[in-house]
């Protein structure tokens, strides 16, 4: 039982890191540049599709990943140039409308290009086994790699945002673009670069999860809401918050759906507990978010401005 709990905690951690990987780019663009980008999810999806294609062409997942990064960066640049740059000083709702449209366009385009059937890419040999943990329980190596990638991304982002001048300028530009440019910063270029970088992060996340998840046209959308939940729980604009939020969601979701019914059984009869558990399980994440926001209206690490 404790073994299982430990393992589930590890699973929760891993799922949380996975969510963070996806939410990282979103925090960057939304939390810090103050731009609501619903298309983040589809760029993540493109990353997954591209790695499938590139891995197929090169015969190696690693090479595929290396090609996917610049490709999604490029896609980010193009989208920024064509659409996003015209929307930075618009209301959030305008951004929602435009990026909602973009989601439709990209999803449909992906379906036209790659077809509707889910695709797959096999993971690199070296990372495909599993390591023994405790008792009969084992843990897949690739998931350890995801945890590592997520932690590195978190650390890197946190350093960039809080410790570099680029990070400062970004945060400054989010609240007052005009002032920042009047002080001599080329805000447009800054935003372009960061936006493309955010797209690359999304693409990276997509490429990283492609070996363990189905690559299909629904993958971006299902993850987008979760990613938003994560950054809202953590507090918008805080990398630390996004990280904490992701882990919290990962653990609560994973551990809660396994141990929740067990706990419920302690307080009600088994069939009612099973029913209640089934009803509550999908709500868990939302209940968590509602609770946190009810108590801390600006998320865990958010600041009220």
């Amino acid at each position: 039982m404790t073994n299982l709990l430990l393992l589930q905690l590890l699973n929760g951690l891993q799922f949380g890191v996975l969510l963070f990987l996806i939410a990282a780019g979103l925090t960057l663009v939304f939390g810090i540049m103050d731009f609501v980008n619903l298309a983040h999810g589809v760029i993540y999806m493109i990353g997954a599709y591209l790695v499938v294609t590139f891995a197929g062409l090169t015969g190696s997942y690693g090479l595929g990943l290396l090609l996917t990064l610049p490709a999604t960066l490029l896609i980010g640049l193009v989208l920024e140039f064509l659409i996003f740059r015209h929307l930075y000083d618009r209301s959030h709702l305008d951004q929602v409308l435009a990026t909602f449209g973009l989601v439709m366009v990209i999803t449909e385009a992906v379906e036209i290009i790659w077809g509707a059937a889910p695709l797959t890419v096999s993971m690199p040999e070296a990372l495909s086994g599993s390591v023994p943990l405790i008792g009969p329980l084992r843990y897949p190596v690739f998931r350890l790699a995801i945890i590592a990638a997520g932690l590195l991304t978190a650390l890197g982002l946190w350093l960039v945002i809080t410790r570099t001048r680029i990070g400062m300028r970004l945060r400054a530009g989010a609240s007052n673009r005009a002032m920042l440019s009047a002080l001599g910063v080329d805000v447009r270029r800054l935003f372009t670069v960061i936006f493309a970088f955010g797209a690359m992060l999304a693409g990276f996340a997509g490429a990283m999860v492609a070996p363990i998840l189905a690559v299909d046209t629904g993958m971006g959308e299902s993850v987008l809401i979760l990613a938003f939940v994560v950054i809202v729980i953590g507090g918008i604009g805080s990398i630390k918050g996004a990280f904490a939020g992701a882990l919290l969601v990962g653990v609560v979701d994973t551990v809660g759906r396994v141990f929740g019914p067990i706990l419920l059984k302690a307080v009600m009869d088994p069939s009612a507990a099973a029913q209640a558990g089934r009803t509550l399980a999908p709500m868990l994440v939302y209940i968590l978010m509602a609770l946190i926001l009810a108590i801390r209206p600006a998320g865990l690490f958010g600041q009220k401005t």
């Binding site: 002032m179 009047a182 002080l183 001599g184 910063v185």
Partner: protein, 228 residues
């Protein structure tokens, strides 16, 4: 240094500036005077490219920048202390100062020496500062871009008398170092001590311009346009 010719600008349908001409020579201190709502801030916004010019020309050091992006103008040597402070609320005090700094005589240490109060608040977020502290921060931030011409729009608003005196002293020192200054302020007395020339605008037009001496001599000007 800065030359503005026939500048027109406005918001939406309404034209606020109807052709402003002014210039600031290197090392010169020029004031922009006028009552509330006459277009001083609008003039400054247009000089910085934050508002598009509908007609006229803005040039810095001989280069025409009328159509240039704001950051190009700042890089050409303009530094802004905007009306209403506009510090970056989500950056702390130190970050506010260094985020846009450019190398030169003004360093973080020098600004903190000028405003010790900021040093005491160095780790605080911009939005946590008191009104006056924000004002100091806005001035310090502009200085740290090491401009050749500082433009101050009501930079002493909300400052305690002691600090205000320090600012005047500091501006005098800047002037002595050969820095050019364009300034909007309501303390006409202090301005007359500092400035070389004055430009008075009314309803978006320059209605009077003259040297400090001419201004001092002409009570009529003060009376008519400034009610001092």
């Amino acid at each position: 240094m800065l030359r503005v010719e026939g500048l027109q600008a406005g918001f939406g349908e309404s034209l606020v500036l109807h052709g402003i001409d002014l210039h600031v020579d290197p090392g010169e201190v020029v004031t922009l005077l006028g009552r509330n709502g006459m277009g001083k801030t609008t003039t400054i916004s247009t000089i910085f490219g934050l508002l598009p010019a509908r007609a006229g020309r803005v040039s810095v050091g001989g280069t025409d920048l009328t159509r240039a992006a704001p950051h190009r103008r700042a890089q050409a040597g303009l530094g802004l202390v905007p009306e209403g402070r506009q510090i970056f609320p989500r950056l702390d005090v130190r970050e506010n100062l260094v985020a846009t700094a450019r190398p030169g005589a003004w360093t973080l240490d020098r600004v903190l020496a000028l405003f010790p109060r900021l040093g005491e608040r160095a780790g605080h977020m911009g939005h946590q500062l008191s009104g006056g502290e924000q004002q100091m921060l806005a001035i310090g931030r502009a200085l740290m871009t090491n401009p050749r011409l500082v433009v101050l729009d009501e930079a002493t608003e909300g400052l305690a008398p002691l600090i205000r005196d320090e600012i005047w002293a500091c501006l005098a020192a800047l002037k002595a170092e050969g820095e050019a200054i364009l300034i909007v302020d309501k303390n006409v007395d202090a301005l007359t001590r500092l400035a070389d020339r004055h430009v008075v605008i009314e309803k978006g037009r320059v209605v009077w311009t003259g040297s400090n001496a001419e201004m001092a001599a002409s009570d009529a000007v003060k009376d008519r346009y400034l009610h001092v």
